[in-house]
């Protein structure tokens, strides 16, 4: 029942915002109200979930009964956490969107809410084809956000992202239809027994198809080249949605689809995928060091972080999966925070070029402190949210293979290099343009950044609150994998 509400609220919100939001203010109000309502419902539901009952978190209605297709939504601990991420980030993203001079606000907010609808669908789909539908549908609103409100090169970047993703989806759909015809059902739970009995070579193919689709979505090396451009050219809102939430669909897909549907192959492929993931981790980190555009720098950093998550999931250990799930939340929050700071800096100075920035902390100390906290989360300082996930994932990768673990560990050094450079070149030093008056963050901007920094610290000090929610799901998955 709650799942249905969580799905319907953003959908209705999207429609309402589109219809009645002709003037700018009301569109945003609808979006805020809708996203806050979702958050409220989620919190109410989550309170029930943690108290033990999982029943409320599933919902099924036959769709085409003869074909074994159901409208089935269900949520385990991992889904619940990703729902939490979605429910928390969407209001923040809506609040952070500035309306100054925007046309067609009703469409804009409608698309944002529609994205939320699709994300909830992905994270709770209990049926292969529902998953596929939402996975694909998520791309559409973001695509339109980018081409309509993005920068000069946005249409080109968006188109590349679109084509790239569809290529992956094609493979995924093929694999799904194959699974469906073999198992005569699209129910994810029921399919497990079919998948487990499939010959290893078939599983290898299936896994290959899935992993490419998800690798493009995250993205993973070498399927990432759409990402830096898309993140950089998109309007801030779309960048936040992409980096904070949509990228998590890829990792989630690994956990929910790729591993359970091809358990033998997951083991076989673990080394190759881990290697690619760690190559991407180091490669992205190294590239980030010399980037001049703030958004591009954060984009490469984001890409690097995704690599470690994939490696964590494939390590086949509870630390790895738990770390990756935790890091999905942490990275989602931090990426939104960092891209928001980038937007705030750009709004005030008219540039995102590090070589032209400097000295902002003198005029905007509050901004610099909040930026620093989010940045510390991103460089995984203990007692911030970034540490817990990285610690667990690095440990898992290290157990998986000592050498790869050490190489992956280099990312904590590289991360400090590029992130502190970002901070120093924007906040420290002398102001390059002495005429420029940089206002400190106030009002909504401050509120959003304070909430994000608060989450960074709270998650870092009390990670167990989150880890406990996903642990049973992670253990169940591992038990299933080891039982094959």
């Amino acid at each position: 029942m709650f799942l249905l509400l969580l799905l319907l609220i953003p959908l209705v919100g999207a429609l309402l915002s589109f219809v009645i939001g002709r003037n700018e203010a009301s569109a945003k109000s609808v979006a805020i109200a809708s996203s806050l309502l979702s958050l409220g419902v989620f919190i109410y539901a989550a309170a029930q979930f943690t108290s033990g009952s999982t029943e409320i978190f599933s919902f099924a209605k036959p769709w085409i009964a003869s074909a074994g297709l159901n409208f089935k939504f269900s949520a385990d601990g991992i889904s619940v956490l990703l729902l939490a991420l979605t429910s928390v980030l969407v209001p923040l993203i809506v609040l952070s969107a500035a309306d100054k001079g925007r046309e067609k606000s009703n469409v804009f907010y409608s698309l944002v809410l529609f994205t939320q609808f699709t994300l909830v669908g992905v994270f709770t789909a209990g049926d292969l084809f529902l998953f596929y539908f939402f996975f694909e549908a998520a791309l559409v609103p973001v695509y339109f956000l980018i081409i309509n409100w993005g920068g000069e090169n946005a249409p080109k970047s968006a188109f590349k992202m679109f084509i790239y993703t569809i290529f992956g989806s094609l493979l995924m759909l093929a694999a799904m239809v194959f699974l469906y015809t073999k198992g005569q059902t699209a129910d994810l739970e029921a399919l497990k027994s079919t998948a487990a009995l499939m010959p290893a070579k078939v599983q290898m193919l299936l896994f290959g198809a899935f992993i490419i689709a998800f690798a493009i979505k995250m993205p993973l090396f070498p399927f990432h080249t759409w990402q830096p451009n898309a993140y950089t050219d998109s309007p801030a809102t779309a960048t936040m949605l992409l980096s904070g939430l949509l990228s998590k669909m890829g990792v989630f897909g690994l956990i929910r689809i790729a591993l359970p549907m091809a358990p033998l192959a997951a083991n076989e492929y673990a080394m190759i995928v881990t290697l690619l993931a760690i190559v991407g981790l180091i490669y992205g980190s190294v590239i980030a060091i010399k980037q001049d555009d703030i958004k591009r720098l954060i984009a490469y950093s984001s890409f690097a972080h995704m690599g470690l998550m994939a490696a964590g999931v494939l390590s086949g250990s509870v630390e790895g999966i738990q770390g990756a799930v935790f890091q999905m939340l942490a990275h989602g929050v931090n990426a939104v925070g960092l891209f928001y700071v980038a937007k705030i800096i750009f709004d005030r100075t008219g540039t995102r070029s590090l070589s032209q920035l400097g000295g902002i902390s003198q005029q905007a100390p509050v901004l610099s402190v909040l930026f620093m906290i989010i940045l510390l989360g991103s460089v995984a300082l203990p007692l911030t949210n970034g540490f817990v996930g990285e610690f667990l994932m690095l440990k898992a990768v290290f157990e998986f293979d000592k050498l790869i673990g050490v190489i992956a560990g280099l990312s904590i050094i590289l991360g400090a290099v590029y992130m502190l450079r970002l901070f120093q070149n924007t906040m420290f030093g002398e102001v390059k343009d002495s005429q420029l008056i940089i206002a400190d963050v106030t009002g909504l901007e401050r509120l959003v950044l304070v909430i994000i920094s608060g989450i960074v610290l709270i998650m870092g000090v009390f990670p167990n609150v989150i880890l406990k929610v996903s642990e049973p799901a992670a253990v169940t998955l591992l038990d299933y994998l080891s039982s094959i």
Binding site: S169, L170, K201, M204, Q291, S317, P365, G405, Q424
Partner: protein
């Protein structure tokens, strides 16, 4: 809320008040809050000590479970025992004095409130480091002090080079931290826990020379090399002098940089079981002590001399640890905290008096002008030079005696370093305080003794630098070694795995001889410095006029340049290449050509002109077609698979 938790809580509260109230709290309240937080923490330490003294039993204070995953549970817990008590006294005691000093030193700075907030945050992190009951809590503090160090080195961050120094410190520390982290992974792997008591208990069952332990202790020591500025990770510390002087005294002399020594002493069972690691530590220490001391001979910035001196003294502490004389190494941590904090604060007072001048070639003759600073600085100089009965003599002599027993060559090198120490310190003293004033007229008119908030800490530290050594008399004096008796329980594990542990086989006459030798050496160094800089009144030449070995030393063996060449430049080049060429041209180029091929195909077959949404439908159609193909038969799958398999193999 227990008393133990209050120790780190007060600085945290102080940080929050001054941090959130930045620009709102009146300036007159900032210092009392900052100093008060530190003082309350000190008082709590005293109370905890009194409670602890009743039973002398290790106290574990669990707060909550921090990270629980699978079978691994890391609790947020504090441990109070002899070792943490001593560290707490140093941190909160010396910390409070330096907070007090900062009240005067930073009084004209616009970032006054920010400074006290950072200092409190540092205390909090440092306290976590020494109070944690497991390696991950230590790691919180370990990285936390690194952050505070970064913030405080870059305190005057308008200057770009100061910002660079801060970043260098953080990144170099991170290199060490990675080693530490890997050590932690190995610990979990071997013991299934990170809690000290459990790890050490389990370790006692392992044989000496256990290979797993060797890796663990080695990796943890890499962390110590970063934090405690040992070769090859020491070059950040001299640059860290960009921070305000109280920071240099507190963080980069008395407390943070000694974390590495604390870590080894804390893990003494593990190290006792790993003689190879210990040997490595001893040699790294020796090398660092020598290299840093030799660089210090040719530095002319008063703080740089002290910075290299710190690196060198940290080397001595590690020599002590390396020869399994843990208490001696730790003894030097204590005495060094007194005299080096004193010297740095004295240097700060000099800089204050000299209107921010730091070049000793432009000083001279300050003895009569700033009496308290001069006398206390002289005390610090004598103490570090190892002249009896001042503090440094006792701790250094104890280390040297153990080294002599361990390895004669190492001992000779350590003596050489000790000679250089006495020389460069007296060189520094003479150039600064004796002779004639070489600064500008304006500076001379402005010369003044510092306010009492600065001189009181100097006096207290000077007294401690005189008497601090009395906590550890040599055996031959027939007086008690209070420190060694107090610390004895923490070596219970080391004693049980190594029956020889803590036994000295030197004859008394030999010990007298060694002691006499090192005192004589220090006196010769003093005399030499006196001859050169007082009698002959010679001055260090201007930068760039040195040649040969002297130039190499003055230029710090070109280590920074070497690091830039071998690490920084290649990574930056790789970054540019990957970012501007490989990623955009090669990888993305390949994708683009593939993409345009598809687009042409699409256009030709469908006259698709209106954009991507229709193309999307087309692709979906293609997907369904592909699926039908796939379902024709398993043969096809098999064929495809064998092709694929051949590819990945």
């Amino acid at each position: 809320m227990s008393l133990i938790s209050l120790i780190p809580l007060f600085p945290l509260i102080g940080f929050l008040i001054n941090g959130f109230g930045y620009k709102k709290i009146p300036k007159s309240l900032v210092a009392p809050i900052g100093i008060g937080a530190s003082l309350l923490s000190f008082i709590s330490t005293v109370l905890v000590y009194l409670e602890f003294k009743q039973s002398e039993e290790t106290i574990i204070q669990p707060l909550f479970d921090w990270i629980t995953v699978g079978g691994l549970n890391i609790s947020f817990a504090f441990q109070i025992d002899q070792l943490s008590i001593l560290m707490l006294f140093i941190i909160t005691g010396v910390g409070t004095l330096i907070h007090l000093y900062s009240k005067g030193y930073m009084s004209h700075d616009e970032g006054y409130g920010k400074f006290f907030a950072y200092l409190n945050l540092f205390l909090f992190s440092m306290l976590l480091l020494v109070m944690g009951a497991n390696y991950l809590i230590m790691f919180i503090g370990w990285e936390g002090v690194g952050l505070c160090s970064y913030l405080l080195i870059g305190f005057w961050n308008k200057r770009e080079d100061f910002g660079d120094a801060a970043r260098k410190a953080f990144v170099m520390n991170r290199v060490g931290d990675l080693g530490f982290l890997i050590g932690i992974f190995l610990l979990i792997n071997q013991f299934g826990t990170l809690e000290y008591l459990s790890v050490f208990e389990q370790a006692k069952a392992l044989p000496v020379g256990d290979i797993g332990l060797m890796f663990i202790t080695f990796c943890l020591f890499i962390g110590a090399m970063g934090k405690s500025a040992q070769i090859p990770l020491f070059t950040w510390l001299p640059d860290a002098m960009a921070g305000p002087t109280p920071v240099s005294a507190l963080i980069h002399a008395a407390t943070m940089v000694t974390s590495g020594i604390y870590m080894v002493v804390r893990s003494n069972v593990l190290y006792t079981l790993s003689p190879d690691t210990l040997e490595f530590i001893a040699w790294i220490g020796t090398l660092t002590a020598l290299v840093a001391a030799s660089i210090a001979l040719f530095q002319n910035d008063i703080k740089k001399v002290l910075a290299y001196s710190t690196v060198s003294q940290l080397g001595y502490m590690f020599i002590g640890l390396g020869v399994m004389a843990y208490t001696s190494g730790f003894f030097h941590v204590i005495t060094h905290a007194f005299f080096k904090a004193l010297l740095f604060l004295g240097a700060g007072s000099v800089i204050h008096a000299m209107s921010d001048e730091q070049d000793i070639r432009k000083m001279g003759g300050l003895w009569s002008k700033i009496k308290i600073t001069s006398i206390t600085f002289l005390i610090g100089t004598i103490a570090i030079s190892g002249l009896p009965p001042f503090a440094g003599f006792f701790s250094k002599d104890e280390i040297l005696a153990h080294v002599f027993e361990h390895n004669k060559l190492m001992w000779a090198l350590a003596m050489l370093g000790s000679f250089m120490t006495a020389f460069y310190m007296f060189r520094l003293f003479f150039l600064t305080f004796t002779g004639t004033f070489r600064g500008t007229k304006e500076q001379e008119d402005h010369l003044h003794e510092s306010p009492s908030s600065m001189t009181i800490p100097l006096i207290v530290l000077a007294v401690l630098s005189v008497v601090g050594g009395f906590i550890g008399f040599p055996e031959i004096f027939h007086l008690p070694h209070a420190l060694s008796e107090f610390l004895s329980p923490i070596y219970e594990g080391s004693r049980s795995v190594n029956p020889e542990f803590g036994q000295v086989h030197l004859s008394h006459s030999m010990e007298w001889l060694l002691m006499g030798g090192s005192v004589l050496l220090a006196l010769i160094a003093f005399a030499a410095a006196y001859m050169v800089y007082v009698k002959n009144k010679s001055l260090p030449v201007a930068d760039g006029e040195l040649s040969g070995l002297k130039k190499v030393l003055a230029d710090k063996y070109y280590l920074d340049e070497a690091y830039n060449k071998t690490f920084v430049n290649p990574v930056e080049k790789a970054s540019t290449f990957f970012g501007n060429v490989f990623d955009t041209k090669v990888l993305d180029g390949a994708v683009n050509s593939l993409g345009s091929f598809t687009a042409i195909l699409g256009k030709a077959s469908n006259k698709l002109q209106t954009g991507s949404t229709r193309f999307y439908l087309l692709v979906m159609g293609m997907a369904i077609a592909a699926i039908l193909l796939l379902n024709i038969g398993n043969e096809l799958v098999d064929g495809f698979f064998s092709m694929f398999k051949a590819q990945i193999k």
